[in-house]
Structures are given as structure tokens and as C-alpha cells.
């Protein structure tokens, strides 16, 4: 079998289980008595073991095997959870994660697990070595024993003979690769009892039940069936390699030894399986049917769909021009269907942000220990969904923000006590949906951002001049910490790195089409708020014309569209403005900022359209010549060659096949506005 076919699935599922174990371990730390949690962990470890063994990752399999044993003892209440055990298990999970990562990167997942396996074994049984020796000694003893019968059995045999039964000695040899010999033996017993009555076994049935025998065992069977029938029935059991049935005469059974180990109670069923599965069963999870799809296929689907939307736009134009009712009706129907289809396609790419969030509790726990801080991480809105592409990228920035909150945001425990704050710091990680955006916030209840410190450092580093510093609002000061090479920590720590950091976060978020802002109150804490687009690829927009060029303005930033004939244009301090709904709205001439070549002399009395757009609570008006109408457009990235064009966020292809640029309205709001 080519195992590579399964590798991807193996890695994915292994990661899920590692994550599940981590999550449950954290819960277990809080509720060490909760057996349900142990069961969950056990189940994940168990599945991991099975998968690893199947793939031939022996180190991983043996590690998970020992881990499972320890967990089993805990859930059987044979072992009490101690901090030491928790730490060993945590280390195990880290090691497992490391191995899985190694496998993912093309490695063979080997790792030196002897030390940790030894630890796990010594948890299970401090004197494990002696135990093994004892077992093997018993095995030897078992295989050399002779099959002997006592008086009582002899009388049974005699009775049976009178009824026409034969006495058979049945020698059964199991496949040496057989893993659960005792269960195989049980199946042999079961089959034999269908044929007659077992009056004795060698080794004794208790030893067989405990797996304490070699590859073979012998039965004494009373049956009225003939020898071949018995052989055939027993050979048909899996992993039974050989069955030798010999009929015994009375003479051969004559030697009686009263001191031997007797086991007439073969018919007693072996011990019942442990009933501890029940606890985990009661915890119902909704089961939905799903399949896994390669993300590339989804991307291709999305691309093809995008093409379709472009054609749809074109078709709509043709239909409108043609005035053919049937065509118009059909196109309208197609539009409705494709809108539904679009919803579905976009939805398929949506993944709960939980995928990213769920690794944070563990990270925060470890970090808090390293920093010797007490912290409670509260996660809200983990079910909020985001485009898969965003999910893949958002992890690192969030890690950074969380580390920053722990390291720089929260005070040391002593400081907190001195300031009459709860000893335990609180970090809130929250995701929620609003309009066409998803927001993710990292909020701490620490000391807040020190305006003076930030300014001092910014001036030191030449990020701003001293004069500039006086006129900055708090918001503007806070955003300085996103400047490159900025670090507010007095001491450089390993946790948040060496000043590389928040600027990278900002760049990353912006590359995803998002923004990040900071709120902070001295002594009460800080909040970092990330705003991300819900979907990356298809956006509703208004097409506008500036001279002969067509631009798209995303709908979600548009407040309203008006004309200059309805609103008088004033000039304030050299800036053209209009008064709109009681607000003074500065105007941006797209013709000027985009240096649009003038084709002919402007018609004097033609009204100009003003598209009013918003960022936060600020508004500005973009001056255009004509508004062409609303359209769904497919965002096409400009690629690395043309990134960071002033005022442009991307391009799209219009119904006529030409390229139009998408305006990034946010860039027209100046920072000091």
C-alpha cells in the first residue's frame, strides 16, 4: 500500500487530535476530577496511536501508547492526577505535535522518545522491569505444563463416553503475529463449546485470559462430532495457524495428579469489558456529514465562478440593450441563481476562527508561566467565520498581539496587587461579525499604553519630530507603536522579541485588506481591534467615471452619492468642502489625485457626482464625473510588482473585458483628520 496517499489526511487528523488533547488538558488542569475530560483525552490519544501505527511512525505510536496507558489508569481511578503527571503529559503532546510537524515537512517523524516513555512507564508502575520478568517466567512455566486431569473430571469423561461422546485433546497454535491472543483463545473456546464441552485447558484459563501464554494452548474437549469437523471449525477462526485434534483413550488419561492446577470452570465468561466508555457517550455532539475538499479546488471553483460573474455582467448589459423580454427574464433568473450560487461558494470557503483561536489557551498558559504572571484568557465568538485565506494568515499577527498583551500589557503580579487590581490579569480575545467585516479584538486589563513613553521613544527613534509630538491625538500616539523598529518594553524580553513586531502585524493585516486600531486607557488596559473583510474575492461596488477612466468604489465604504448642484462647494483654508447633513465634508478630486488625463474641455454646466465615503466617523467626498451604477466585481490582486499604489487596492475586469481599478478610499483619510 502506498501510504503517501493517506499522509495528508493523517497529518490533518493528527493535528486535530493534538489540538483536542491540548484543549482538554487545559480543562483538566482546572477540573482534575472530571473523568469525562480524561475520557476525551484518552480517545484522542488512542486514535492517534492507531493512525501512527498504521503509517509506521513507530516513535509516535509508542509514545501515544504509553500516554494512553497512563490515561487509562487515570480514568480507572488507579492513578491520581498530580502536577507531575500533567507536566509529563503536556510534554508528550508537545513532542507529538513536533513529530507531526516533522512528518508534515517531509520528515519521518522520528524523535527520541525513550526518556519520556520511561517517565510514562514509571508513572504507570515504578517497578515495571521486575513485572516484565515475572510475566515471562510465568509464560515459560505455562508452556511446559502437562495436561493432566483429576478424579472429578475423569468421572465427567466417563459419563460422556457412555452418551457416545469422544474425548479429544485439541492443540491450538495461534499465529505468532497475533496481537490479542486471549481474545483469539476466547473465540476458540466459544467455537469449541458449540461443538461440545471443554473440561480442561492448559495453561489454565485464567492465564489464557491474561494473555500469559505463548502461541499455543491445549483443550480437553468432549464432543460427539468427529475429529475432522472439530479441526475444520476451529481452523476457520482468524489467526489460528494450526489445530491438531487427537482422540484420547481411557488409558492415556489415566495418570492422575492431584496437585496440578485445575480449571474446570472454563465456561465462566472472561471478565466483562470495562464500562467506562459511557461517560463520553453521553456528551452529544451534533454530527454533520461532511467531506474534505482540497482548498485548491475551492480556489479554482472561485476563479471559475468569478469568470461567470463577469460574463453575467456582460449578459445583463446585452439584455438591457436588446429589449427582448425573454432574454431579460432569463438573464434575471440566471442572476438570481448565480447570486445563490455565489453565497454558497463564498460560504464554502468560510471557516470558524476557532481553528486559529484554539491554540491560544495553551500558548497563553505556557507564556504566563514563563513570565510568572497570572492570567485568564477569555475567548469569545470563536464560531465567527472568516475566509479560509484570511484564517491561514491571521494566526501570526494574533500570536504577536497576545504575546504583546501578556508581556507588555499586563503588569507583574506584584504591581497589580500594589495597584489594587485583581491578582489575575485578564486577556479577552473576541471575534464578531459586523456588516461586511469581521472584527477581532485583543483586550487586556493591564497598565495601558503610556503616551509619554511612546512619544519619547518615537522622537528618539526619529519616527516623529518633537514639534509634531505636541499636536498628536492619543489615537495617533498609540498608532506610533506600529512604526517599524518600535518597542516600548524597557527590557527586551524573549517573549515579544526585539522590537520586530507590531509593524509586521500591521503590514500583515493590511495585506489582508484589513485595518488595526488601538484604544487604551491608562491603568485600565488596551484594546487592539482588527477589522477584516468578510470575503476577499467578490465585492459590491459602485462604478464611476472620471474623464474617460472607470473606477470601482467598494460599496461598504460609501455613505451616499450626491451632486455638486445640490450642494454648494465652499473653500476652507484652501480645501474644497461641501456641507452635507450638517457635516463639513472635504472633497477629493479624483481627477487630480489620479492625474487623469483630460480628454476634452470640461462641459461647464455638467453636474459633478460626489461619492461620500466613510472611515470610522470621518467622511470625505470623492468627486467624479459620472456614476455608472452598482456592480459586483471580482477583486484581482495587482501582484507584488505593483503593490502599495496610492489610493488603489486592486483591479477588476469589467463586462467588456477591460481592466478597472478599485479605489481604496481609506487612503484618502489623512491620519490627522
Amino acid at each position: 500500500m502506498d501510504l503517501n496517499n493517506y499522509l495528508e489526511l493523517f497529518i490533518e487528523e493528527s493535528k486535530e487530535h493534538v489540538q483536542a488533547i491540548n484543549d482538554e488538558l487545559l480543562k483538566l488542569e482546572i477540573e482534575p476530577e472530571n473523568i469525562d475530560i480524561v475520557n476525551e483525552i484518552f480517545r484522542s490519544a488512542h486514535t492517534l496511536k492507531g493512525m501512527a501505527a498504521s503509517m509506521g511512525f513507530d516513535d509516535l505510536a509508542s509514545l501515544t501508547h504509553e500516554m494512553e496507558n497512563v490515561l487509562d489508569m487515570i480514568r480507572q481511578s488507579e492513578l491520581r492526577i498530580t502536577e507531575e503527571i500533567m507536566n509529563v503529559v503536556f510534554t508528550c503532546v508537545d513532542l507529538i505535535a513536533k513529530m507531526v510537524d516533522n512528518i508534515e515537512q517531509g520528515g519521518d517523524g522520528t524523535e527520541d522518545v525513550t526518556e519520556i516513555v520511561r517517565k510514562l512507564q514509571s508513572i504507570q508502575n515504578p517497578s515495571i522491569i521486575h513485572d516484565e520478568e515475572r510475566v515471562s517466567a510465568q509464560n515459560e512455566a505455562a508452556t511446559t505444563k502437562e495436561l493432566v486431569i483429576d478424579e472429578f473430571q475423569r468421572s465427567i469423561i466417563q459419563e460422556a463416553r457412555k452418551l457416545g461422546n469422544h474425548v479429544y485433546e485439541v492443540y491450538v497454535k495461534l499465529d505468532e503475529r497475533c496481537v490479542m491472543k486471549s481474545v483469539r483463545a476466547y473465540m476458540v473456546f466459544q467455537a469449541a463449546e458449540d461443538l461440545g464441552e471443554i473440561i480442561q485447558t492448559d495453561p489454565p484459563v485464567e492465564q489464557i485470559e491474561e494473555d500469559q501464554f505463548g502461541d499455543s494452548f491445549t483443550l480437553l474437549l468432549l464432543s460427539h462430532h468427529d475429529r475432522l469437523k472439530i479441526e475444520a471449525q476451529l481452523t476457520n477462526i482468524s489467526e489460528v495457524k494450526a489445530v491438531i485434534v487427537t482422540e484420547k483413550t481411557e488409558q492415556e488419561l489415566g495418570n492422575t495428579d492431584k496437585q496440578n492446577h485445575l480449571n474446570p470452570n472454563v465456561t465462566d465468561k472472561p471478565r466483562k469489558g470495562k464500562e467506562n466508555q459511557k461517560a463520553s457517550e453521553t456528551k452529544k455532539k451534533p454530527v454533520t456529514k461532511s467531506i474534505r475538499v482540497d482548498i485548491e479546488k475551492l480556489d479554482r471553483l472561485m476563479n471559475l465562478f468569478s469568470e461567470l460573474i463577469i460574463d453575467r455582467g456582460r449578459l445583463e448589459q446585452i439584455a438591457r440593450k436588446s429589449q427582448i423580454p425573454d432574454l431579460i427574464e432569463t438573464v434575471e433568473h440566471m442572476t438570481r441563481i448565480s447570486t445563490d450560487l455565489q453565497g454558497l461558494v463564498l460560504n464554502m470557503r468560510m471557516v470558524p476562527v476557532e481553528q486559529v483561536f484554539n491554540r491560544f489557551p495553551r500558548m497563553v498558559r505556557d507564556l504566563a508561566k514563563d513570565l510568572n504572571k497570572k492570567v485568564q484568557l477569555v475567548v469569545e465568538g470563536a464560531e465567527t467565520e472568516l475566509d479560509r485565506t484570511v484564517i491561514d494568515e491571521i494566526g501570526d499577527p494574533l500570536v504577536h498581539l497576545l504575546r504583546n498583551a501578556l508581556d507588555h500589557g499586563l503588569e507583574s503580579t506584584d504591581e497589580r496587587i500594589a495597584n489594587n487590581k485583581p491578582e489575575e490579569g485578564r486577556i479577552l480575545l473576541k471575534a464578531y461579525h459586523s456588516g461586511n467585516h469581521v472584527f477581532i479584538e485583543v483586550v487586556d486589563d493591564g497598565k495601558g499604553i503610556n503616551r509619554e513613553k511612546v512619544l519619547k521613544k518615537a522622537i528618539e527613534r526619529g519616527v516623529i519630530s518633537e514639534e509634531e509630538s505636541y499636536s498628536l491625538s492619543d489615537q495617533q500616539v498609540y498608532s506610533l507603536i506600529f512604526s517599524s523598529g518600535f518597542s516600548t518594553a524597557d527590557k527586551i524580553s524573549d517573549i515579544s522579541g526585539r522590537g520586530v513586531g507590531l509593524d509586521v502585524v500591521k503590514t500583515k493585516i493590511e495585506s489582508l485588506g484589513g485595518t488595526i486600531t488601538i484604544d487604551s486607557t491608562p491603568e485600565q488596559g488596551s484594546a487592539f481591534r482588527i477589522q477584516l473583510p468578510l470575503s476577499l474575492s467578490i465585492i459590491y461596488s459602485m462604478l464611476v467615471k472620471v474623464a474617460e477612466e472607470i473606477y470601482a468604489i467598494p460599496f461598504n465604504s460609501i455613505v451616499e452619492i450626491t451632486t455638486n448642484s445640490d450642494n454648494e462647494v465652499y473653500t476652507l483654508h484652501g480645501q474644497k468642502v461641501i456641507q452635507f447633513r450638517g457635516q463639513v465634508v472635504p472633497l477629493i478630486e479624483l481627477k487630480e489625485v489620479f492625474q487623469v488625463p483630460q480628454v476634452e474641455s470640461p462641459k461647464v454646466n455638467q453636474p459633478l457626482y460626489i461619492v461620500i465615503v466613510r472611515k470610522g466617523d470621518q467622511t470625505i467626498g470623492l468627486v467624479t464625473d459620472t456614476v455608472l451604477g452598482q456592480q459586483e466585481i471580482v477583486l484581482k490582486p495587482l501582484g507584488r510588482y505593483l503593490n502599495q499604489l496610492q489610493g488603489i487596492s486592486g483591479a477588476t475586469i469589467l463586462g467588456n473585458g477591460e481592466v478597472a481599478l478599485i479605489i481604496d478610499t481609506n487612503q484618502f483619510f489623512n491620519e490627522k483628520g
Binding site: L642, A651, E658, V659
Partner: protein
Amino acid sequence: MVKIIVFKLGEEEYALDIEFVQSIERIQPITRVPNAPSYVKGLMNLRGNVIPIIDLRKKLNIGETNFTDHTRIIISKYEDIELGFIVDQTSDVIDVSRDELEMELSGRMEFDAFGGIVNFSGRLIILLKMEELVKTEVK
């Protein structure tokens, strides 16, 4: 041996390693990109992909292309960057061995994208360095 695609900029002959060339296209509508470097002619829709188009003459500081019937766009890809280069005319694809490639050029004529000069049966062809052409000036 390297395969190079030879094209004309005015009367001069230039070439690109064919390894980086994806296709040769006729001129299609190009959308101007505001605030971009002057040699960026604009964006073109090439079968659903939006590709930046470079006026190669401008990029190399040897004038500006006037579109004619012979004007072509060489679509190239270097790492993840796809670019189209406007050239006056494409001529042919030729094989050049490494030692036919003259790397020396008098210092006065040296420029960043210079990748060597080929003397191909009397024709002098300048090979351009793709990795230099995909660089944008830091704004």
C-alpha cells in the same frame, strides 16, 4: 545552450531568456495606473488575469513605444511576478551557447538589466536580465 527570444526596440535588437517567457500577445486595451512609475503603461486583462504592462523602451531609457501593427507584448513570469513587456517587434527564437555570450561592455554603456551581448551572424543582440526587469524602484 540557452534559448532566447529576440525582439526589436526601435532598430536595436534585444533578447530575453525564453525560460521566463510565457506568451507573446497583440496589444489589447490597457488601463492606465495612476501614481505608478512612468514606464508602467498600465494593466491588461489576459484571459482573466490582470497583468501589469511595462513600456520596455521607457524602462531602459531609450524613448517610448509608439504602437504599430508590429507592436507586441511579451508576457513573462519571474518567480511569482507576471509582467508584460511592450516591444516594437518580435523577430525570432535562437539558441546561444554560453561562450557566445559576451559579458563585457564598455563601462559607459553598462546598465542594470544588461545580461550580456550576443553576436549572432553579424547581429548584435543584447540579452536582458529578467531579475533586474522585475525590480520596482522603492518609492
